[in-house]
Amino acid sequence: MTTTTQQATQETVAASARNLTKTYGQGDAQVHALRGIDLDLPRGRFTAIMGPSGSGKSTLMHCLAGLDGPSDGTVTVAGTALGSLEDDALTIFRREHIGFVFQSFNLLPMLTAGENIVLPLELGGRRIDDAARERARMLADILGVADRLGHRPAELSGGQQQRVAIARALITEPDLLFADEPTGNLDSTTSAEVLDHLRRSARELGQTVVMVTHERDAAAYTDYVVTMQDGRIV
């Protein structure tokens, strides 16, 4: 690999993993969740990580997002090697560079939708100024939840909750947005809406989106599909 291609790679790759390995337990009980993964995630695209349950796709996402440390190998996100970061530095890195949408338990039940959206800014100790509020409103507009900002999560439908979660993930303009089975709890119509929003985030806002899913239909919305089985990319 020459220097130029490496530079070119860095420009187009949002995150990469090299020889990523994760094992749990010891001896007979040892489980190999990841067996040496090499992966580059292209910038500004919508990528799906697919595979049956137990294939290691969630573990891969956790390692790529810095939620869990790998047993071996390296992860680089936005030019930073995550393995070199202590827990606090890693947390702050996540706060600034990575956004998340989970399957469920996505929103804090005691905060309103609006408060949930600006939560990542608040965690970073930033003042919620007019610009931030404007951005939150814009995102809520795009995602169609602008009229629900004053409501608690319990008063929102599943699809609305997920769209609020996407707005929250986008508020920090992260380098990488991870979505873990975002449509797992939704009916097909709502699923389609949410997936459409994720695709538009990539197409229109240039957002890198990585989605973990086991649904073939969901993968159809993405630009790339990475399929996993038994801890390997197939």
């Binding site: 969630s58 573990t59 956790h62 997002a65 939620l67 869990d68 827990d87 606090d88 947390t91 702050i92 996540r94 706060r95 600034e96 998340f100 989970f102 469920s104 338990f105 996505n106 804090l108 039940p109 005691m110 905060l111 939560l119 990542p120 608040e122 965690l123 970073g124 100790g125 919620i128 319990a154 929250r168 873990d180 709890n185």
Partner: protein, 803 residues
């Protein structure tokens, strides 16, 4: 159902630990009181009978405790029986040793024959003849006595020198004294001697009038009942605090069960789904509570018994005069304590288990059922709370008007119950207000804290109880204290008064007094020696325009109208024949004046008159007294004896008012600290409760915390968030408790204190109350340590994949 019961016990028993600790602490408290009470009883029994163990009869006053033995008759009676009788009693006499004056020495008899001797030698030997004495070890320790010291007992012609030949232990309250001398020696002070009983061997013969003869056992039993009543009163008081601790435990346990059952509601629903009846589910849950109750009560019983005996050993080691016997294991207390623990646990779990009954099987099938355990607050609660509040306030109002303690207690209880019931509405709002002051950083914590109003309210209620009572005690004591200060200021306006009835005091003496450590200010008081009709000795008649500089009452006692003379009614003993309003002739040399008598106390044997009056009696007043204001923190006994050293050689006497202050200080100090210490137990249980609620909430929120961590909340921020939540809970409970406590204290002041001390004023000890708030907040912080550490340990990935 049995498998389910055992399995859920295995899974959940660790979550009951904090609740179990709360029960155990309360049960242990009961047992400690029990062991101490029975220890005190057996100690009293052992000590009390000791002087009379070899007697056939004990002669004492027939009408005791309202009448006492006539000393003369009792002495004659004892003398008549010779070797076959021994008296117990004591004489209170002044004493000097090692060049120091010892105030309030009690001297009792010690027999030379072994069969009558009940004191136990701890060093040296027993006195064999006149001129020898033994000293009680505890008194020796306090007054720094050693074997070989010489002590002068008595004053004037009755003064005798004795040598300390040994130290003894003398654990028998009716016969106890600080020093013991032989009977013949003791009779040298027969005028001062009070006897309480005479032990007789053989025939009693003719009894002196107004006395009765009893068997030694009968006598000991009679005295014991009297002292025991006091021990029992004390036990009842202690049990009151036990009751408070138990109440707080009920709140903590009930909250624990509520939270745990809420978390497991899905499990219960699932059980219902697969065919368990309501009764089966509830029975299984109640059995769990019973197991927790049994284990906790057992642990509490063991700890309490251990602590009780440990305390007895400690008390024995620290204070040799204390009467703590080896207590028998108090079976009744054991059973009682255990039963109380079990009952409390069962009662506290009753309401929460009822909620389990109501769960519908469908709840298991709903997706996110168990997450949001928000309980609604109905209308019944606030309505009942309002009724209780209004009734209580009305009762308190009436109590203040009618000075009725019973109404006050009823009203206070009603108001407090109202506040507790109102908690789910009130406390979250208060937390919201307090949290708003923290800014955005504390917002998550604030929202977390008020998530479930009922849980929040119960958690804070437990602390509220302790803090309210603590505040009421502190404020009540401070008010009482400041009122007493005023009164004592009037009764003892001068800390130490040095009065010279013959010669004027010299400038040299004044200077030496001023340089004595502990003297803040000393003023010379001018006057002249006068003969006052009705007093057998001449006294200085003085005037003190400068008294305000040293007097505690602002010098009011020394402002006497012309034509009057103010006499210290206590300085002349009981024989003072002058009464306020009497007209007496006062003579200085050949000048005389007719003066009207007024009285007061606290400045010694001198008459205070107006400057004009003194001018008519003498042209050349000379200082005849020095009035001293002690610096704060001066040791009264030491200052007294130091000044006495200066006064004695020039024939002056000392009036020490400071000692009264000291004993008052000590007494109030003991009351306040005991009450605080005992309430402390309830507060500790409450804090265990806060830690518990927080710990259980943390378990409930693992997913949420994992998500927050994923979103960028650092470990430190997470810990801080939980700490803030705990501090908010404890702070609000403390602030609310302080307000209610001060309110209660005010009512108490209006109802009780004002009645007892007419011109008392309310005094709120803001500093102490501030310290309470601070300590409670810090304790809240402490309560968050374990839950916060636990929460921060979970990695985001682990928390997210948890189901």
């Amino acid at each position: 159902m049995r498998t389910v019961f055992l399995a859920s016990l295995r899974t959940h028993i660790r979550r009951y630990v904090a609740a179990a600790v709360a029960v155990a602490v309360a049960v242990a408290f009961v047992l400690v009181v029990g062991v101490l009470t029975s220890g005190a009883h057996s100690g009293l029994m052992d000590g009390l009978g000791a002087p009379y163990r070899n007697a056939d009869h004990v002669v004492s006053a027939a009408g005791w405790p309202s009448s006492e033995l006539d000393p003369k008759a009792a002495i004659a009676f004892t003398e008549r029986h010779g070797e076959n009788a021994a008296a117990t009693g004591r004489a209170t006499l002044p004493a000097r040793a090692n060049g120091r004056r010892i105030s309030e020495t009690t001297v009792g008899p010690i027999a030379t024959s072994e069969e009558w001797r009940w004191q136990e030698l701890s060093s040296g030997r027993f006195p064999a003849r006149t001129g020898e004495a033994v000293v009680d070890v505890y008194f020796a320790l306090a007054e720094n006595f050693a074997v070989g010291d010489r002590v002068r007992i008595g004053e004037g012609a009755a003064a005798r020198d004795v040598q300390v030949v040994g130290l003894v232990e003398s654990p028998s309250p009716p016969a106890q004294a600080s020093m013991y001398v032989t009977w013949p020696q003791l009779l040298q002070w027969r005028d001062h001697l009070h006897l309480n009983a005479v032990a007789v061997r053989g025939e009693v013969g003719q009894l002196p009038e107004g006395t009765k003869a009893q068997s030694p056992e009968g006598f000991a039993a009679e005295r014991l009942t009297y002292v025991q009543n006091r021990v029992n009163t004390l036990s009842v008081m202690l049990l009151l605090f036990v009751g408070i601790a138990l109440f707080v435990s009920v709140l903590v346990i009930s909250n624990t069960f509520s939270i745990l059952f809420a978390q497991r509601l899905r499990d219960f629903a699932l059980l219902r789904c697969i065919g368990a009846t309501r009764r089966q589910v509830v029975r299984s849950v109640r059995r769990e509570a019973a197991v927790v109750g049994v284990l906790a009560s057992l642990a509490g019983t063991l700890v309490g018994v251990g602590l009780g005996y440990g305390l007895i050993a400690l008390i024995d080691a620290l204070t040799p005069t204390a009467l703590m016997g080896a207590a028998e294991l108090p079976t009744l207390w054991l059973l009682g304590g255990f039963a109380v623990g079990l009952v409390v646990t069962m009662v506290a779990s009753w309401l929460p288990t009822r909620r389990v009954v109501r769960v519908s099987p469908l709840a298991a099938l709903r997706a996110d059922a168990a997450v949001d355990v928000h309980t609604a607050t109905g209308l019944v609660r606030p309505a009942l709370a309002a009724i209780l509040l209004v009734t209580g306030l009305a009762l308190l109002g009436v109590a203040m008007v009618q000075d009725s303690t019973a109404l006050m207690v009823a009203g206070g209880g009603s108001v407090f119950a109202g506040v507790l019931l109102f908690g789910p509405v009130l406390v979250p709002r208060l937390i919201g207000i307090t949290g708003a002051l923290l800014g955005p950083a504390g917002r998550l914590a604030t929202k977390n804290a008020v998530r479930d109003p009922r849980r929040t309210a119960t958690t804070t209620a437990s602390l509220l109880v302790g803090v309210t009572l603590t505040t009421a005690v502190l404020t009540g004591m401070a008010t009482w204290r400041s009122s007493l200060d005023e009164q004592i200021g009037r009764d003892h306006p001068i800390d130490v008064a040095l009065t010279s009835p013959k010669e004027p005091v010299t400038t040299d003496l004044l200077n030496r007094v001023r340089h004595t450590p502990g003297v803040e200010q000393a003023i010379p008081v001018d006057g002249a020696v006068a003969r006052v009709a009705g007093l057998d000795k001449p006294i200085p008649v003085v005037t003190a325009p400068a008294a305000a500089h040293v007097a505690r009452d602002g010098g009011a006692f020394a402002r006497v109208e012309p034509g009057k003379i103010r006499i210290d009614s206590e300085a002349f003993g009981k024989n003072l024949s002058l009464r306020p309003g009497d007209r007496v002739t006062v003579r200085v040399g050949d000048r005389r004046a007719q003066l009207q008598v007024a009285v007061g106390t606290g400045w010694g044997p001198a008459g205070v008159v107006a400057p004009e009056t003194l001018a008519t009696l003498t042209d050349a007043p000379e200082p005849h007294a020095i009035w001293i204001r002690a610096s704060s923190g001066a040791d009264p006994a030491r200052l007294g004896s130091d000044l006495d050293e200066l006064a004695d050689p020039v024939g002056a006497t000392i009036e020490n008012g400071l000692r009264t202050w000291e004993s008052l200080d000590q007494q109030l100090g003991i009351y306040t600290w005991s009450a605080l210490g005992l309430l402390g137990i309830a507060v500790v249980i409450a804090l265990i409760g806060i830690a518990n609620t927080l710990g259980l909430s943390v378990l409930e929120r693992v997913r949420e915390h994992a998500m927050l961590r994923a979103l960028g909340l650092t470990r430190r921020q997470l810990r801080r968030m939980l700490a803030t939540e705990a501090v908010l809970l404890s702070l609000v409970a403390t602030l609310l408790g302080t307000m209610i406590g001060v309110g209660f204290a005010w009512v108490g002041y209006e109802t009780i204190v004002k009645q007892a001390l007419s011109d008392a004023t309310m005094h709120v000890p803001w500093l102490s109350l501030g310290v309470v708030v601070l300590i409670a907040s810090l304790a809240g912080l402490l309560a968050a340590v374990l839950p916060a550490r636990r929460a921060a340990r979970v990695t985001p990935a682990a928390g997210l994949s948890l189901d």
